[in-house]
């Protein structure tokens, strides 16, 4: 759509700007402030320059957490995106069962995150959980509080349980918007099921899929509550992701300087990756527009 140039539109943006300035810019500046200062208590601060950044960049703890975080996000995306699309392709198109599927699939999305953790804790525990008890009865050595692999698998399955529906719902909405004429043309050409997906459905849902990937990347990269409830970052440090480590550092140990430097680098990583996604997305939008 052609948009008119109108500088007065700024007045419509103003409320958002003020609100976001209050709830984002002020806190962010506080973080920046802490990241370049040191304190000996009593609210006396002095300039520390980039010392904290150097310290954090040299710290193995942060790199380990970052590595775990990247691994987690990559695994999550690799499972959820294809699975979500697959589920969307299999959902009923309309009628009673479509409603049932929509309602049931939205359910995990609306459960508070710590309750998601609680659910999987109750479900996975060896003594009282259906999953843990059954697996152990079958002779599988499964205990997510002690075993590295069990902890990771539990968290990944939990996240798949929690979020695949979002990908599926978005992809489903994209599929719904494909006109039937496309399918008919494919039928006339005797295209195989795979070709229909590859050349009609996939390009058409690409835009939505990018939103899904962006949302899933951002949220999995910031994940805190669920692993905190289920494993508490353990066993050892094996599931201590960036947010868990950060909260431990900032609110637990009150190491403000390093935590602030950590925060800023953490935020920057998300920003850069998201910017790449966003640029690709808007370019796709433009291409479709022509």
């Amino acid at each position: 759509m052609n948009k008119t140039v109108n500088q007065k539109a700024w007045f419509l943006i103003l409320p958002v700007l003020l609100l976001v300035a209050f709830s984002a810019v002020i806190p962010l500046m506080t973080v920046v402030n802490y990241s370049v200062q040191d304190t000996f208590g009593n609210n006396q601060f002095f300039w520390a320059g980039l010392e904290w950044f150097e310290q954090m960049l040299a710290s193995e703890r942060m790199w380990d957490a970052l590595g775990r975080q990247i691994a987690f996000s990559a695994i999550i995306l690799a499972i959820q995106i294809p699975l979500g699309v697959f589920i969307a392709l299999n959902m009923p198109k309309k009628g009673f069962w479509a409603s049932v599927c929509l309602v049931l699939m939205s359910l995990p999305l609306l459960i508070p995150w710590n309750v998601v953790g609680t659910i999987w804790q109750i479900f996975g525990r060896v003594d009282i959980g259906l999953l843990g008890y059954t697996l152990n009865a079958m002779g599988v050595d499964y205990n997510y509080t002690q075993n590295f692999y069990a902890a990771w698998i539990t968290l990944i399955v939990m996240d798949v349980w929690h979020w695949t529906s979002l990908v599926a719902l978005l992809a489903y909405a994209g599929l719904q918007s494909i006109p039937d004429a496309y399918y008919q043309a494919a039928k006339i050409d005797q295209a195989s099921r795979w070709k229909v997906f590859r050349f009609i459905e996939l390009p058409k849902i690409m835009g939505v899929l990018m939103i899904a990937i962006l949302l899933r990347f951002m949220d999995s990269f910031m994940i805190y509550t669920e692993p905190f409830v289920v494993t508490g970052g353990g066993p050892g440090n094996s599931t201590t992701f960036l947010s868990i480590d950060l909260v431990k550092m900032a609110l637990g140990q009150f190491d403000l300087g390093p935590a602030a430097a950590f925060s800023i680098m953490y935020y920057l990583v998300i920003l850069v990756v998201s910017y790449v996604f966003y640029t690709v997305m808007t370019n796709l939008d433009k291409r479709d527009g022509h």
Partner: protein
């Protein structure tokens, strides 16, 4: 497009080559989704001794005591009221500021609009863990700590950008001629916006409200950091079940079930909007 689907009834069958295969896939997936929830509900209906001492697939000794504990104890049920209060506050604030902004983004070009839009989105990407401590200090210093409005404002951090993003998509779908006609007819901007424009994007507002509810209701890190007693959310109250004698699993499960219910109700009411809204708007 929706009209076309009615005129060509046969075409649907092509999209679903194997109806049975799809049904199997969906059944398995829904089973996977519901199994943990089933277990939670069962736990909430058992006594603690049954939970800990025996392993049963359904309660042999059905009890509603766990629910009674929650519904009769003020410190439990006020948690629900607190959560509801700040979620609703947040929805109202977010929609109120996001509607005009989304309109501006969807209709006009102005200095720095693209950068502003991305900057707004970056706030959706900000890890709450980064903001927890500064928020705590900010709201303490202005005397808002442990109030509902503090949590509502804090959740605006990620909800306002999301609302602008979704609404902008819906508004782009409304032809610009409608605005122009209304102005020619002598409507002022506020009157046009409330009387004509808002009803046109009602389903978009519904979908946005759904997402606002969802992300504010499920968030714990910020709401827990910003409250202590007066505005404590239910999700934070749940940590109370860890007592001296270990975890009270039954009550914990019952509280979990009760936190699922509001979400389930919201989904039920907006289920038609979701499908329709997804198809019309941004996506």
């Amino acid at each position: 497009m929706s009209d076309m689907t009615h005129t060509i009834p046969k075409a649907r069958s092509f999209g679903l080559p194997k109806v049975n295969g799809s049904a199997v896939v969906m059944s398995l997936y829904l089973l996977f989704l519901l199994l943990p929830i089933y277990w939670l509900v069962m736990m909430s209906l058992k006594t603690n001794s049954e939970i800990l001492n025996t392993f049963t697939l359904w309660p042999r000794d059905l009890t509603f005591d766990n629910y009674l504990t929650i519904l009769t104890d003020a410190s439990w049920y006020t948690g629900y009221l607190n959560s509801m209060t700040y979620v609703v506050m947040n929805m109202v604030i977010s929609l109120a500021v996001a509607l005009p902004a989304a309109y501006a983004f969807s209709r006009y070009t102005f200095l720095g609009d693209k950068h502003l839009f991305f900057w707004l989105l970056t706030n959706r990407m900000a890890p709450p863990a980064v903001f927890a401590l500064p928020f705590f200090q900010l709201y303490s210093s202005v005397g808002l700590f442990d109030t509902h409005i503090a949590v509502a404002l804090a959740h605006c951090l990620f909800n306002v950008p999301l609302a602008v993003w979704i609404l902008e998509g819906f508004m782009r779908g409304v032809p610009k001629e409608i605005d122009e006609t209304a102005y020619i007819d002598g409507y002022s901007f506020p009157r046009f916006f409330v009387r004509i424009f808002t009803p046109l994007i009602a389903s978009g507002i519904g979908v946005t409200a759904f997402f606002l509810f969802m992300f504010s209701w499920v968030e714990l890190l910020l709401s827990r950091t910003l409250t202590s007693v007066e505005a404590k959310p239910i999700a934070a109250t749940m940590t109370r079940t860890v007592g001296a004698s270990g975890i009270d699993w039954g009550v914990l499960a019952a509280a979990g079930v009760l936190t699922i219910l509001p979400g389930a109700l919201v989904i039920y009411f907006v289920r038609n909007y979701i499908a329709k809204g997804f198809a019309l708007g941004r996506v």
